[in-house]
Amino acid sequence: MNLIALDSSGQTATVALVSDGVLLGEYTINHKKTHSQTLMPMLQTLCDAAEYDLQTTDAIAVAAGPGSFTGLRIGAAAVKGMAQALDKPVIAVPTLEGLACQFYGTEQFICPIMDARRAQIYSGIYRFSQEGCGVRMHTVAEEAALPMTEQIERLNALGEKVIFLGDGVEVHRQVITEQMQVPYLLAPLHKRLQSAGSVATRAIMMLEEGKAPVEAGAFAPEYLRPSQAERERAEKLGAE
């Protein structure tokens, strides 16, 4: 099976190609240049370097959210265009699950945290269990937009070792240091941020779990938050 995978949910731009169980290549840039300018040229460079024939693609995996609204849409729209041209389906990988798969098979709780602005993070809590020679992923706390302190309280209550990763780690390093009461690790550099290889790993797991890919036309990002205008309107209607 051949997969294209990408993640543009945060500042990281990352693309990967998988061919029959081999990660042909991954190209990741953590730089402030806009995804609109970088993502597709990166994919083109990677395809050229790996001599990858686009026509052999079976599915396209993408970090489907949460994340930066604009970042998610740049990835989503590009994926929809490619999937439609190739007539192949999309595997919508929850961003936080894709991140968590960087620690595939570890025993600790995995807590990806993405800076969500407005004093919140996008986060969930995951853990892996080994079953025979396979690994299953479990959701301990569903993905949500919430304050960092709330997630820390939850982790303290769970009382198990934790690994934190994601772009929220730097932003919330101090509060983590001050408030965490259970042992924790901060992910090392090479596993800290989004990786399209990890998105591909989660996509393959999802297929094995029987989660069906979607058609290009049916795919849309999962923002976890309504737009500001919708939120304000709902508040206004609720108040009346």
């Binding site: 265009g81 190739l86 919708e230």
Partner: protein, 342 residues
């Protein structure tokens, strides 16, 4: 044209319309699909950028699929993919641009970025095989008021633009003030039929240092002041008269500037473009002004006045035959200037 026809799949998402079209040789529209979001934005009294961007993302595949299906083609049959990359709402533009890049990359087709206003101007080429540059063109829409000299295909000189509100924006604001709702243009156009355009003397604003630039914020304020003074004195407002008088003030200025440009340039052809070009009173005023001077007057059919992708396909054709191609680093440029090439 000799040889094989050039067919371009064009995509437009700069504001609140998700649109796709297949256009042959820049003039023949094979298919033209427009998915409007106006019902949603009406709830908010105007276009909400984040909602527009989300809706574009949801709709774009279906709209393109419908355009190809209506043309009885697949992506493999098109010669190039064209997309609006500015000006417009950046988030909305990014959806079309990112999608078009993905599509062009995977289908191995050339990519052409198109300026939205150049699209509006080029809508005049559709169904008008005899129309050729040079000619002056007035582009009036919700976001733009440009008086442009089209020197050649893809070559433009901006003669005048609005210093403040776009003409369409002034329509929206005045419509809101007299309780007609959004979008204001069509509503004012309709209600004006029952009003007297000479009832109230609203100002015809001039910009001191330019014969071609426009200013509509003073006119808008004059309408608001008028409504306010009626309110204070307890005089009943005749909405139809206000609408008709306001509209006449806008139309008079637009016609006057355009006729000045024609006198200066000496062309025998004039074109109108943009969403407000569907306004019946505006069209009639231009028809009369042009007829009086022996000027051939062009305007797109109403379906090509509103934001659409056929006009993008028309503009893209002339870029295509000049050899213009964009790379996969094409970005949305919300403030892209007319005639600018990035």
């Amino acid at each position: 044209m000799s040889g094989k026809p050039i067919r371009i799949l064009a995509i437009e998402s700069s504001c609140d319309e998700t649109a796709a079209a297949v256009v042959e040789d820049g003039r023949k529209v094979i298919s033209n699909i427009i998915s409007s979001q106006i019902d949603i934005h009406t709830l908010y009294g105007g276009v909400v950028p984040e909602i527009a961007s989300r809706k574009h993302t949801e709709r774009i595949c279906q709209v393109v699929e419908e355009a190809l299906k209506a043309a009885d083609m697949t992506i493999a049959d098109v010669d190039a993919v064209a997309v609006t990359y500015g000006p417009g709402l950046v988030g909305a533009l990014l959806v079309g641009v990112s999608y078009a890049k993905g599509l062009a990359f995977a289908a191995q087709k050339p990519l052409i970025g198109v300026h939205h206003i150049e699209g509006h101007i080029s809508a005049n080429y559709i169904d008008h095989p005899e129309l050729e540059p040079p000619f002056p063109c007035l582009v009036v829409s919700g976001g733009h008021t440009h008086l442009v000299r089209v020197k050649d295909y893809g070559e433009y000189e901006v003669l005048g633009r609005t210093r403040d509100d776009a003409a369409g924006e002034a329509f929206d604001k005045v419509a809101r003030a007299i309780g007609l709702g959004y979008p204001g243009g069509p509503k004012i156009d309709a209600v004006s039929d029952e009003g007297n355009p000479e009832a109230i003397a609203f100002p015809r604003a001039k910009v001191a240092d330019s014969v071609y630039d426009f200013s509509f914020s003073g006119l808008k304020s004059a309408v608001l002041n008028y409504l306010n003074s009626c309110n204070m004195s307890g005089t009943e407002v005749n909405r139809a008269d206000v609408a008709a008088s306001f509209q006449k003030a806008v139309v008079d200025v637009l016609v006057e500037h355009a006729m000045t440009a024609l006198e200066e340039g000496g062309e025998k052809t004039f074109a109108l473009a943009g969403g407000v070009a569907s306004n019946r009173h505006l069209r009639k005023a231009f028809e009369e002004a042009c007829a009086k001077r022996g000027i051939a007057f062009y305007r797109p059919a109403p379906i090509f006045c509103t934001d659409n992708a056929a006009m993008i396909g028309a503009a893209a054709y002339y870029e295509y035959i000049k050899g213009v191609r964009h790379g996969l680093d094409l970005n949305a440029v919300p403030n892209l200037k007319l005639g600018e090439r990035i």
